[in-house]
Symmetry: C2
Subunit: 135 residues, 2 copies
């Protein structure tokens, strides 16, 4: 694993998360996730618990897929001292006229070294429901 | 709206949430959700933002459906002073041998009156991925 990240805000952590996703960078992804019983729910998946299993799931995604083309926008930030919850809309370009939208709840925790990710929960917005995203 | 709830812990709030869901009780649901830009993502839905819109979505669910038969179990609790994030597995009885599993990230905030819900993000676990729920 590379040198530890030192991220000063949840927003910095979020940028690192999406950069790692975009570049299929498993080293940065591994450094971004906290140790211990962190949780990742990919769209449609069950709960993947623990740093090693979460990182293995990302490695599978990085191995199987082309680099995604996505943009993200934060719908809502909640920050209380050492815990932050962001609801994020992820728009994946698919080649069609309308992107695929995934909503993600990203949870970050402040450690001595800085902010790290402790949960990612993604869900696919079904076609026909996307209008609600901007409600 | 009924008299304000006074919930001393995130777990108490969670019990009230699932009781309101089970009993299709829109008054209790309205009292459980904080005011302001709270967020609800039903499985497959977009982000529904704001107390009134969130409650309207619950009213639609309560109007359209039979009372659900569900049990819930908390996969992970994260509690930092005034903010709590729970990942919960919801098992809906369907009449088939295996229940439908929804994973929910429930976020609670401590206010002067007690703990209230500020986010619910649910996603359906696709068939074939349910084994991951207990990882």
């Amino acid at each position: 694993m590379e040198a530890k990240l030192k991220l000063k805000t949840p927003d910095e952590a979020e940028v690192v998360y999406y950069e790692a996703f975009l570049h299929c960078d498993s080293e940065v992804m591994a450094a971004l996730w906290a140790a211990g019983d962190v949780i990742c729910v990919h769209p449609g998946s069950g709960a993947i618990v623990g740093h090693a299993k979460v990182l293995r799931s990302w490695q599978h995604i990085f191995n199987d897929a082309q680099r995604p083309v996505l943009t993200f926008s934060v719908v809502k930030r909640t920050l209380h001292e050492t815990l932050a919850v962001h609801l994020v809309a992820e728009a994946f370009e698919t080649g069609d006229s309308s992107p695929t939208i995934v909503l993600a709840t990203n949870v970050y925790q402040k450690f001595d070294q800085g902010w790290l990710m402790i949960e990612h929960h993604g869900s696919l917005v079904q076609t026909g429901a996307q209008g609600q995203t901007l409600q």
